[in-house]
């Protein structure tokens, strides 16, 4: 009888000890909610590659040291539309018990997923641009990229600056944009910046991202006297637009709005038709050649912007877990909000660091302009030594 009492007491003690939270855990799970199928699967795959490289590195170095070497485990969920993302986040938090979430590339999907993470009090790190993401007064969403309106304004301002460098003063532009939250927000940034500069937007056309025939849009561009074309697109629409522009022999410089214009597939599918296409981007791999080459050695291709940004965000999350010495999502959230992290993939980002302001928006991020040159993306703004600018087919002499 005494032994039964003793074993009962032991069970009670053991159970209560396992609830202290500061007890060493063997794995820390992080949820990854990105599109792994459908039209945006390429982005999800690129993100996955970067995260897996980072996870392997962290675990090989001994895991999270302040949690007695707890290993990091990624739990993936395919998010192809906002509804699925919400459900996925719910499942990741309640069933898999993830302590943080990384995702979801598409602004619309990020908005939906972050509603759930906010409700459940779990920190989420994203690269999605839409202004709305950090304007809802949420405490648990962190955005490593600048806002869409800032990126949009920079797209115009930097393109105009490049035009000046090439000796062409811009007074008329064409704007084509996919009509979900990413395209709408970014095109507004471009439109407003153009207005501020006194430049006329002669073509301003929104289109559904699943568009199959872009000829009506390009016909309008052809009939206009635009000196620059600003398309804001995802993958498929970007390829349709560039091909149609080439088909109609339009040699006007093209300044893409990130998205489909800066992934390796764009260059692979279009070949030399992609040469000369400019695009704004939140980050480019040529800022850190050593890291890019290491990635290239494993995956055979340079790391795209989503790989850089999400991996940097993920490493920031892991660093925060280490700093917080806890798997309590709120403590991790506080650590993310106050940290400034400058190692890992953050070194390939503008200003080489990741930090956030009180709304969760990046305080270190800055848009830069890149150009396709023979299958590589070269940063052309801000100007650096050795980076050539090609304008209307010829190298610009500065």
């Amino acid at each position: 009888m005494f032994s039964r009492f003793f074993s009962a007491a032991l069970t009670v003690v053991a159970l209560s000890l396992s609830h202290t939270g500061a007890f060493a855990q063997e794995t820390v799970k992080i949820g990854v909610v990105v599109p792994l199928s459908g039209p945006n699967a390429q982005f999800g795959a690129n993100i996955r590659n970067g995260l897996e490289v980072a996870t392997k590195e962290i675990n090989e170095r001994g895991g999270i040291s302040s949690l007695k070497g707890a290993k990091v485990e990624l739990v993936f969920a395919d998010a192809t539309d906002p509804a699925k993302a919400g459900v996925a986040v719910q499942r990741l938090v309640s069933r898999d018990r993830v302590v943080g979430v990384v995702g979801s590339f598409i602004s619309n999907i990020t908005l939906a997923a972050s509603e759930v993470t906010e409700r459940l009090g779990v920190p989420m790190i994203t690269h999605s641009f839409a202004d709305q993401i950090t304007e809802r007064g949420y405490r648990n969403i962190f955005q490593v990229s600048p806002k869409a309106s800032v990126i949009g304004a920079a797209t115009f301002d930097q393109a105009a600056a490049l035009g000046n460098l090439a000796g062409e003063k811009i007074s008329k532009i064409a704007l084509l944009w996919e009509d979900t939250s990413y395209g709408t927000a970014q095109s507004k940034g471009i439109r407003d910046a153009a207005k501020r500069a006194g430049v006329e937007v002669v073509v301003d056309e929104g289109y559904p991202p699943g568009i199959t025939d872009v000829t009506p849009l390009i016909n309008k561009v052809r009939a206009s006297s635009a000196q620059l074309i600003f398309p804001v697109s995802y993958v498929n629409d970007a390829m349709l637009i560039i091909r149609a522009l080439r088909q109609q022999q339009i040699s006007t410089p093209i300044v893409g709005g990130a998205g489909g214009y800066i992934i390796p597939d764009f260059g692979k599918a279009l070949g030399d038709v992609a040469d000369g296409v400019l695009s704004i981007t939140p980050a480019n791999y040529d800022a850190n050649k050593e890291m890019a080459d290491k990635y290239r050695a494993t995956y055979g291709i340079w790391p795209s912007h989503e790989t850089l940004l999400y991996t940097a965000g993920f490493q920031d999350l892991v660093q925060a877990i280490d700093t917080a010495k806890s798997t309590d999502p709120q403590k991790i959230r506080d650590a993310i909000a106050s940290a400034r992290y400058c190692v890992g993939f953050a070194r390939a980002l503008p200003n080489n660091c990741v930090a956030f302001d009180q709304n969760g928006l990046t305080s270190t991020g800055q848009p830069i302009m890149v150009q396709w040159q023979k299958g590589e993306l070269v940063t052309v703004w801000p100007r650096t030594a050795g980076a050539q600018l090609i304008w209307r087919g010829s190298v610009v002499k500065e």
Partner: protein, 288 residues
Amino acid sequence: MISLLQALVDGVLNGGVYGVIAVGLSLVFGVLGIVNFSQAQFLMIGMYVAWFIWHATGIDPIIGAFAALVVGGAIGALLYSCLIRHVADASVLAQIFVTVGLIAVLENLALIFLGADYRSVKTSYQTEAINVASVLVSKPYLIAFTAAIIVSVLLSLLLNRSWLGRAIRATAQNEAASTAFGIDGLRTKSLAFGLGTGLTAFGGGVILPYASVNPTVGSQYIVLMFTVAVLGGLGSTMGALVGGIIVGIIQSVSTLFLPVQMKDLALFVVFIAILAIRPQGLLAGVSR
């Protein structure tokens, strides 16, 4: 004026291709009385077949489209003889369940075995256009349209002049009587279904120079396919072609005075108006 001509040319070229993609749907309904909701997945299958042939041998997808026709047809015929014939005489609900279920099966099989990547081809004429009095005629569109017309003519010859065509029409008219005349009902129906799916697969190969393929590409075309087939008269193969061209023109011309996002809205408004006046479609054909 030029922009109207340009819109008409683009509309007709696109429309001819829509016609070929949708004719299979019309054929299957006309002959078998089954609405095949998974028809658009055969577009995807055709695109993949043509893509793989291009990837392995460099053969132009327009040529590869004929191989796609055979492969898409074979898969369709097989699916009919193994699966769909069991619901051919069952309730419409059962038919819907089977063909809608096939959508998920085909899409996800493609996703598992072929991955989610968007694949496209590179052809020499992809970024070329012919300038005819300042109207730019896109070469890939023109070539696709020509192939579509050729196949439509061949189809018409097949249905009206060949033994198989007559067997298909006889089985559609009166199966008991045609069996009495020695026509194997199951074989004919499988071939008819296969012909329907094969035609849509052909359409897939033909649009590959300007479209990209991924497992879910069917969803981008399904509504258009149904609109074309119903507008032309479900069951009428000529109707599908006519319907296709009308749909292409409506979509294209509407962009001249409406935002591009309203392209489909304009189409559906006209579509509903036409159906309100003529519910059986424009050219009601072999009917059930």
